[in-house]
C-alpha cells in the first residue's frame, strides 16, 4: 500500500507518523514544496524579537532523523494536481504517481490584502523559515517597520519589533488589537502595553495600498502614508485548498475542506488535516478553521492513522488558545463576548480581577478573567483572560470544563491551591464564575 501525504507542516508530519504507525509496511511518501520539515514556524516571531538566539533552534528534528525513521520525504517538490478517480497525482519533476490513500495537509495562505501595490517586492509574510532568515538580515538595517493587521501573528510581530528596537507602526481597521476575536476588557491592557513598548498604534485605520517603486517603501492608510523600511502583512489565515477544489473535493462555509470525524474528505481514499480543513466547534458545531499547530498535528495524526487502515476519531474542538501580546499574556477558550454576540449565542458575562500569588508576596501579577455562561444550561460558552502567569494552564482548564460541561457553580466553588508564592486564596476563574452566578 502506498500512502501519499501532501504538505510538510504539522498536519503532514502528523499524518506521515500516523500512517506509518497504523501500517508499518506501507510506503508513505510526503511531498513538500519547501526545503525543510520538522521545524516550528510558531517560533519565528521570537527569533526576530531576539528572545530566541537563532533560527536553527527552531528545528526540532533534522533531515537525518526522518531518514533514519524510514520516512520518505520529497523536499522542494510541488504536487500539481490530484485525480481522485484514478487515484493518482501529478508531481513536478516526477510525473504521475499512483496512491492508494492520500492525505492533504496543504495548510493556509494569508488573505490577499486586496489593495494596490500588493505585488510589490519587500512585503513580508511570516511563514517559511528560510524567508524569515533572509528577512531577519534586512531587519538589521531597518529603522521603521509597519505591521498590517492586528491578527495573532501581527501582534506577535509588533511585539517582536518593539523588543528589537524598531520604530514600529501597527495598523488595523478594528477598534483594538485582535478585535475580531478579543474583547475590549482583555485587549485594552495589551494595547496599552504595546504603546508602552513604543509601538505606534494606528487602530481604526484601513490600509489603502502599498507604495514604492518596485519595492515597498510606505503604506498608504486612511490616516495618511506611513513610510517604512520593512512591511509585514499579517492578514487572516485562509485555507489553502487549491489542489482539493481543482480535484472536486468539497469545501464548506469557511472555505476549508469538509471532513468527517475521521478526517476523511468527500473523495474516496482522500483525507485532509490542519489549516486546509474545517472542523466543528465543540459547543455550536459551527465549522471553524485556522487553529494552532497542535490542532494540525493531532488532526494529521488522526488522518494518517485512518489512511493507514486504523480507526481514530477527532473530537470537536473547544479551542483553548494563548499568546504573549505586548507585556501581557492573553488566552481563552472558545468564544469571547464579541464573537458570541455576533453568533447570537445567549450568554451572561462573569468578570473578575484576581492575582497570581498572595498579594503580600512580591512579584504577583494581575489576572483578569472573563467568562461567558449559558444562562439556561449554566455551563461555559467561552472565556478570555489577560495576565502574566498561568494563562495557558487556565485556558486548558476552561477547555476541559467546556468539554465536560462542568456547571458554572462548580467552577465558582472549585477547590484551589492556596500557597503564597504560587497561588492566591481566591482563584481568579472562580471569582469570575461567582460574578456570573450573581447575574443568573
Amino acid at each position: 500500500m502506498r500512502v501519499v501525504v501532501v504538505g510538510g507542516g504539522a498536519a503532514g508530519i502528523g499524518a506521515q507518523g500516523g500512517a506509518k504507525g497504523a501500517a508499518p509496511d506501507a510506503e508513505v511518501i510526503l511531498y513538500t514544496e519547501y526545503e525543510d520539515v520538522g521545524y516550528s514556524p510558531c517560533g519565528i516571531p521570537f527569533v526576530h524579537g531576539k528572545e530566541i538566539d537563532k533560527f536553527e533552534n527552531l528545528f526540532l528534528q533534522d533531515k537525518k532523523f526522518y531518514e533514519d525513521a524510514g520516512f520518505d520525504i520529497r523536499y522542494t517538490t510541488k504536487v500539481e494536481s490530484v485525480d481522485t478517480s484514478k487515484q493518482e497525482i501529478e508531481v513536478a519533476g516526477e510525473g504521475t504517481v499512483k496512491y492508494d490513500r492520500l492525505v492533504l495537509g496543504t495548510g493556509w495562505n494569508y488573505r490577499d490584502p486586496g489593495v494596490p501595490g500588493s505585488d510589490l517586492a519587500g512585503l513580508h509574510y511570516v511563514k517559511n523559515i528560510r524567508r524569515a532568515m533572509e528577512f531577519d538580515k534586512v531587519l538589521d538595517d531597518a529603522k521603521v517597520a509597519v505591521v498590517v493587521d492586528a491578527s495573532p501573528i501581527g501582534v506577535e510581530m509588533a511585539t517582536a519589533f518593539a523588543h528589537r528596537g524598531l520604530e514600529t507602526h501597527f495598523v488595523d481597521p478594528g477598534g483594538w488589537p485582535l478585535s475580531e476575536v478579543g474583547d475590549p476588557e482583555i485587549m485594552e491592557p495589551v494595547e496599552e502595553s504595546l504603546r508602552e513598548l513604543g509601538v505606534h498604534m494606528h487602530m481604526q485605520t484601513t490600509v489603502k495600498g502599498f507604495l514604492g517603486d518596485g519595492t515597498v517603501n510606505a503604506v498608504a492608510t486612511s490616516n495618511g502614508d506611513l513610510p517604512a523600511d520593512v512591511v509585514v502583512v499579517a492578514t487572516h489565515k485562509t485555507p489553502n485548498t487549491e489542489l482539493a477544489t481543482a480535484a472536486g473535493i468539497k469545501t464548506g462555509s469557511t472555505g476549508g475542506i469538509i471532513v468527517d470525524d475521521g478526517m476523511a474528505t468527500s473523495a474516496n481514499g482522500v483525507w485532509a488535516a490542519g489549516d486546509c480543513v474545517e472542523i466543528p466547534h465543540g459547543l455550536t458545531k459551527v465549522p471553524i478553521n485556522g487553529l494552532s499547530g497542535s490542532h494540525a498535528y493531532s488532526q494529521g495524526k488522526t488522518a494518517g492513522v485512518n489512511a493507514g487502515g486504523g480507526e481514530r476519531a477527532y473530537q470537536a474542538v473547544q479551542v483553548p488558545w494563548g499568546m504573549v501580546a505586548g507585556t501581557w499574556t492573553i488566552g481563552g477558550v472558545s468564544f469571547g463576548e464579541t464573537l458570541a454576540t455576533a453568533l447570537g449565542i445567549p450568554h451572561v458575562v462573569g468578570l473578575a480581577d484576581g492575582i497570581s500569588k498572595a498579594r503580600y508576596y512580591p512579584g504577583w501579577s494581575r489576572i483578569r478573567v472573563k467568562l461567558l455562561v449559558d444562562p439556561q444550561a449554566r455551563t461555559l460558552v467561552g472565556g478570555q483572560m489577560v495576565g502574566i502567569e498561568g494563562i495557558k494552564e487556565r485556558a486548558d482548564f476552561l477547555a476541559m470544563a467546556m468539554r465536560a460541561r462542568i456547571p458554572i457553580d462548580d467552577i465558582a466553588w472549585m477547590e484551589n491551591v492556596y500557597s503564597p508564592p504560587i497561588g492566591a486564596l481566591n482563584e481568579p476563574m472562580a471569582l469570575a464564575a461567582q460574578n456570573a452566578l450573581g447575574k443568573l
Copy 2:
C-alpha cells in the same frame, strides 16, 4: 440572636462573615486567644526567608476594618469551656456568655514530639505572627538552625533558612522529605535542590531529644547530636479539640470533630470548621483533616452561613495542594502512590517528564507529572507534580478532573494551548495520562 465564634483563624473569620451575611441583625461575637486576626500565617516562612520584606505585609486587614464592618472581635480572650445543653460558654474575664448558635474554629496544634527536652525554652513552633516576629530577631544573630520533621512547614522553613544563609540541618525519619505524602519520583529533585541550597539533609534520622540547660542548644538524633542556635519543630498538625471533647462533642478517627455536610457537629446548635474538624475525602470518603487556609475559610463560611440560619453544603474535597520546596514547586491532588498503596486503592501509574514552554524558547523548565488511575473506572485517583511553572494551576485542573470524574482518555487527548513562550506542543499532564493508558 447571638452567634458566638471561637477562634480567629481563617475558619473563624469565614464563620463570622458567613453568619453576618446570613443574619445581618444577629449579634456575632468572635473570641480569640491571640492579639490579632486577619493576617496570613502561611506567609510567615517567606518573611524569615526574606522573600517578603516584613511581617506587617501579612496583615490583610487591620482591626479598624473589622470594627467598621460591625464585627465584634474579643482579642486575647480565652474561651474556657462550653456547655451545649445550657447553650453557654465560660469566657476568661467575662464569665458566662449565652449563645444561640456556636461555631468552633479552634484550629490545630503541633503533635507533641514526645521526646525528652520538649519543654525547653527556645524550641520554636511556626504559628503565631507575634512569636514569629520575636523569632526573626533571634535569627539575626543565629548561625546554625535545626528543622525537625520534613512536613510541609518544615520544608518551607528549611528553604527559608537556606535563603537566609543559615547553616541548616533538616532532620526527618523518612527516606525523603514529605515522605508520608510525597512520592520519591517527585521529592528526589526537591531533596537534591535543598542540598544544592546548602541544607544538610539528615533523612532516616530520628530525634531522640532536645538538649540544653533551660534553653535548647542541640538536638539529639539517632545519628548523633546537632548543635543549634535555633530549633524549629515542624511535627504534623493535630486537630485542637480540647473545648469540643470536654463538652462531649464527638470526634472521629483522625481526632477531628465530626461534622455533617453543613459543618454541624453532634451537639445541637454547634458548628465547627477548619483544622479542628474532619471531612470526607472526595474519592474514598475516608475522613481527613489538616488542609489549607482556603479550605478552612470556605468551611468557616459554610458553618457561619448555616449558624446564621442559612443553608449551605460543603462538598467533599479532592485536596489540590502546592508549595515551593527548595528550588522547585511541588503540588498535586488527592493521593500519591505512597498513600494510595497504604490505603489499598487499586491504581495504575502514568509518569511523564514534560516542559513548560517550547524547548527552543529560553527559560523553559521541566515538569514531571505522575498520575494515578483507577484501572476499572479509568478515572483519576490522584497525582503529584514537580516543576517550576504552572504547578498550582495544574493541581487545580486535576482537582476538577477528579471531582467531575473525567475519563483518563480525555486527559490523554485533551486540547491544550501551544504557544512557544507559554506552553509546549505536548501538555505534561496529557503525556502522563498517555503513559497510564499504555498500561491499562
